[in-house]
């Protein structure tokens, strides 16, 4: 597991606790984001948390061609943005 993936998973856990959501276990590469246990507010909070942790928000900085549907796609968007920095 990369450092970035670890940070994202930790932030997901943090947001889930804060918003009384229960994450599914396990969250695999192909797990649909909308079935992870976070709702739209949870994902907005996650992106805000990751912006604080990582210093960037790919959803405002990148021209994203497709919205992420799976955990891998979500991770990929952050990876791509991190590589561009």
């Amino acid at each position: 597991m990369t450092n970035l993936e670890q940070q994202i998973r930790q932030a997901m856990q943090q947001v889930a606790e804060l918003s009384d959501c229960q994450l599914v276990d396990p969250i695999d590469a192909d797990t649909l984001l909308l079935e992870c246990g976070l709702d739209s507010l949870g994902y907005a909070m996650l992106v805000a948390q990751l912006e604080e942790d990582l210093g960037f928000d790919p959803f405002t900085e990148l021209e994203i061609d497709i919205y992420p549907s799976t955990f891998t796609e979500f991770l990929g968007i952050y990876q791509q943005c991190a590589n561009n920095l």
Binding site: L18, V47, Y67, T70
Partner: protein, 434 residues
């Protein structure tokens, strides 16, 4: 006299409404509405509060009561009835018994009443504010054509709110079908939209992003896409255009208070600068010195808007805008009201909750931009004793969870040493907004 039932009677075809795979034809609902009027003639010319239960019953009540009752209040489920004199619909047993003793009016001769429609917006204190509309003003932008009749709309907004009612009326009055998916999670919504062969969607930008996140939006064949209720950004507009290049893509600016709005259909965020002060438009637009959008509707506005209306009839929408070359862009609410995915949050209400904590000396609640939900609620707090930061934060969160809707709870609480004030002594939320 124009009323919903009269308009429906003039249609060559009426549609079908589907909710959780259960179908109700509008023709059936018209019959049910007639039965209600026959069964309860004492409701004629009385003001009525419709408590929302489900879309089919809601539409039935609208068909029955518009043009027949003096006023209809569209009550969200969690909102109490504004006045005691109002009759609550559906009737409870007590009301039905009491009202049966009231002298019956000749309902047939009075059919044709000009009904006032009242809709609620959330107020600063949490108490709703009610704004009046007429059937004519609500349907000013409703379109009719054979093409529109063949559409199947998705209902993704609550129909007792302005945007939801607009979608519902557009579907009803054009004879189109409607699939109600308001109460479902995005993946379930997508399943119903696919099952119902939905061809037209009107939703907030936040809901559009959630539909995109399902990865299944492209499986629909959309010919009409509408965004409203929040600021539509260029990234999202471009994405939807790429997905459905042949579809009509529009974003709508609407004011529940003024009961008017306008449509932008050139695929670009904001609206053209040349629209400002163009007297040929149905809604004349102007930007004030404070950079607020002013609108001058063609119909008389609700009395409660008088204080925001100038001598020329322009209503201050309290929406902040910025003119950049040929485009006018929306920035957010001048009042500091936060828009979380289409849900209005009054910072004052959240501040009042946070200030109940004895460890807090000052607090400021404001918006943080979010690419997914438009805005999020965040709070800065000053605490009296240092060294208890974590405990205070947890206590604040607990209080918020007890007293606020989920979208109103600050997503982040920061302990700060200083909070800015304006000269008036009011909190300076503007800096953070801009």
């Amino acid at each position: 006299m124009q009323s919903l039932s009269n308009q429906l009677a003039n249609l060559t075809r009426t549609g079908v409404i589907t909710s959780a795979c259960e179908h109700s034809s509008i023709a059936e609902l018209i019959t049910k509405a007639d039965e209600i009027k026959e069964q309860y003639p004492q409701l004629c010319q009385r003001p009525i509060a419709i408590q929302y239960t489900n879309s089919a019953d809601f539409i039935t009540a609208l068909i029955a009561f518009d043009g027949w009752c003096s006023a209809i209040y569209l009550c969200p489920p969690d909102v109490s009835i504004p006045e005691k004199a109002l009759i609550k619909w559906p009737l409870d047993n007590d009301t039905a018994m009491t009202d049966l003793s009231i002298k019956q009016l000749n309902s047939t001769s009075l059919d044709g009443t000009q009904t006032m429609w009242y809709m609620a917006t959330s107020g600063t204190t949490g108490e709703p504010k009610w704004f009046s509309h007429s059937f004519l003003s609500l349907t000013a932008h409703t379109k009719h054509s054979h093409k529109l009749q063949a559409l199947c709309w998705a209902l993704l907004y609550q129909p007792f709110r302005f945007a939801g009612l607009q979608v519902m009326l557009q579907a009803l009055l054009s004879g189109a079908d409607l699939v109600d998916v308001v109460d479902y999670e995005p993946l379930a919504q997508m399943a119903f939209l696919k099952h119902g062969d939905v061809t037209a969607i009107s939703a907030t930008p936040s809901v559009w992003r959630q539909l995109l996140m399902t990865g299944q939006l492209s499986e629909l064949t959309l010919s009409h896409m509408t965004l409203g209720g929040e600021i539509a950004d260029q990234i999202l507009l471009d994405k939807l255009y790429r997905l459905f290049p042949k579809a009509k893509l529009r974003h709508i600016y609407a004011s529940t208070e003024a009961g008017v709005g306008f449509v932008v259909s050139d695929g670009r965020a904001g609206f053209p600068t040349k629209w400002l002060e163009d007297q040929t438009l149905s809604v004349v637009l102007k930007v004030s010195d404070e950079q607020h959008l002013l609108i001058k509707p063609s119909h008389p506005v609700c009395q409660s808007l008088a204080q925001h209306t100038d001598a020329q009839g322009y209503v201050d929408t309290l929406d902040k805008v910025q003119v950049i070359n040929d485009r006018v862009f929306f920035l957010g609410r001048a009042t500091g009201t936060i828009n979380v995915g289409g849900n209005k949050v009054h910072p004052e209400k959240v501040e009042q909750v946070l200030l109940q904590c004895a460890d807090i000396s000052q607090v400021k609640v404001y918006a943080k931009k979010s690419a997914l939900l438009g805005e999020l609620v965040v709070a800065d707090v000053m605490i009296i004793d240092t060294g208890v930061e974590q405990e205070v934060k947890q206590h604040l969160l607990k209080m918020c969870k007890k007293q606020l809707h989920r979208f109103e709870i600050p997503t982040k609480i920061s302990i700060v040493n200083h909070i800015d004030h304006e000269h008036s002594g009011k909190l300076n939320r503007k800096q953070l907004h801009d």
